[in-house]
Symmetry: C2
Amino acid sequence: MSTKDSTLYDVVGIGNAIVDVLAKVGEGFLTERRLQKGKMTLVEAADAGKIYADIIPEREVSGGSAANTVAGLASLGSDCAFIGKVHDDELGQEFQRNIGAAGIDFFTRPLTEGPSTGRSIVLVTPDAERSMFTYLGASKKLSAEDIDEETVKAAQITYIEGYLLDEGTAKDAVLKACEIAHKHNRKVAFSLSDKSCIENRCDELLELIRTHVDILFGNEDELKALFREDDFYKALDLIKPLVEVAAITRNAKGSVVVNGRVKIFVEAEKVADVVDTTGAGDLYAAGFLYGFTRERSLGTCAMIGGICAAEIIGHYGARPEVSLRGFVRNRLRQYGKRA
Amino acid sequence: MSTKDSTLYDVVGIGNAIVDVLAKVGEGFLTERRLQKGKMTLVEAADAGKIYADIIPEREVSGGSAANTVAGLASLGSDCAFIGKVHDDELGQEFQRNIGAAGIDFFTRPLTEGPSTGRSIVLVTPDAERSMFTYLGASKKLSAEDIDEETVKAAQITYIEGYLLDEGTAKDAVLKACEIAHKHNRKVAFSLSDKSCIENRCDELLELIRTHVDILFGNEDELKALFREDDFYKALDLIKPLVEVAAITRNAKGSVVVNGRVKIFVEAEKVADVVDTTGAGDLYAAGFLYGFTRERSLGTCAMIGGICAAEIIGHYGARPEVSLRGFVRNRLRQYGKRA
């Protein structure tokens, strides 16, 4: 049975529903406060408040890794849904409005009590690196009950962000989604999300990947962390038997796709001015899955992923600022490929 | 304009029309006679006769590099033509019968005087390596007049073997074919054929490739020789701007396809018993072009090439002994790909 019969959605994303608060800071801001650079650090509401008090917020934009990915897919012209938990507060309503305006179905019932909508303070240093301090809030309350069988069944691909496993609470939701997807012959894509998500739970993650994941996304550091293996090429050989496809990003070195006996190396897009790398991995996944759901070759999928990532790192924020469809079409045309 | 409009042929092959005389010999046979191992050496009729006198011919089979490739393509189900020169003698008639029986159109007028049909004495050592001693004979008489515009125009791809440039006489024919192909928006594929063809004419070859070749075939040693570059990965970067696609074989290491910013590494097929490597490159090209003319992804093209090469090195001779179509379909099915 094809994964394409009677699907309503190309992709359903499942992830933390987060609003990003972006601020530019100097290197000193991080070192003075002993804040970890280049990673995502989970913080409590109080700590988030402390950092927030010291910054000048540049912009507040809906974020969340899987939510960014489906927003990218929607901008490419794909049909998407999102599952994630907000509180019915001001930020939560903003998140809902944004995702709805992007044309993405979002039916998850918001909390009316308990923690407020999650937020991530994204500090962008002059080198365009982003350091994130995330208060998960309502996101953590995502449970198996929120995974609607009809939505998952209706999607060719269920895309799950690894951040969901960060505090373990959403694991039941993740497993339920994987089981529904495979019961209906759909594919499961999973993003490793962040080194900090991996380092303390390699075995658990490997078991999940081996059992449930068809398409794996991650970057070079995450893949190496997953196998506790310093040699990138060895790590590529280790992931090969576990998944159908692994798409691994490498910043300026482009990306590599592993598909059984085939490894595809794709050079990075040229980007004139890297402003903020937030969302680069999310948008790479969006472009890749756009190609994948249209049965393009894996090399072209990786190329489209790279093009989408290039758009997102050229400005602040992790949601596209142009129609990705046109942006990708123009770039592909330069390479003599159809969009 | 697409290269596919109103094509009668998938591929027209242009090359030396040669009958292979296969014989098994020990390592000593080569060293005693100071014969070069693992390469193709051009010999005169008299020298060919001297080697021939000392061997026990295992089989006589139609050969020729591009002819082997179109025979492979025909076995895969592609429509092909062949252009090459035989003499109207016994060997020449055998060559014509064989290529006709394979379903390949072959209209080149045979010689009725002058040199006899070309032959290649293929000495196979116990390590399955082949050393070839080729008397080109009638093949050398291929001229621009033999390149029929209608035939080249009718083919999606014109495939030219590098051996044709060996003695320079067929160069006009090669250039005429390239010009006709491009005039009609067809593609030109070219095989580097042999290190000995390259070493003394790198600049001339590079100019031909840069000007006329869309798809380049060769092996690792040939590519390195072409650029006088010992580092294979550097040689891959050097070929990148010159052609649309380069497909480079690496024996047990599989093959690499370079396509602009994308490099695809495909592992080699497992072969239980390597008997005779004659024709491995020719059949790789056949499988690759079969996939290419059917718009399969380049990774799949390389995979099909590897499968066809695996069939040919499992027995003596460079023409397939089974229906490649079924052979490829079964192997691809094992990899979860459609044929």
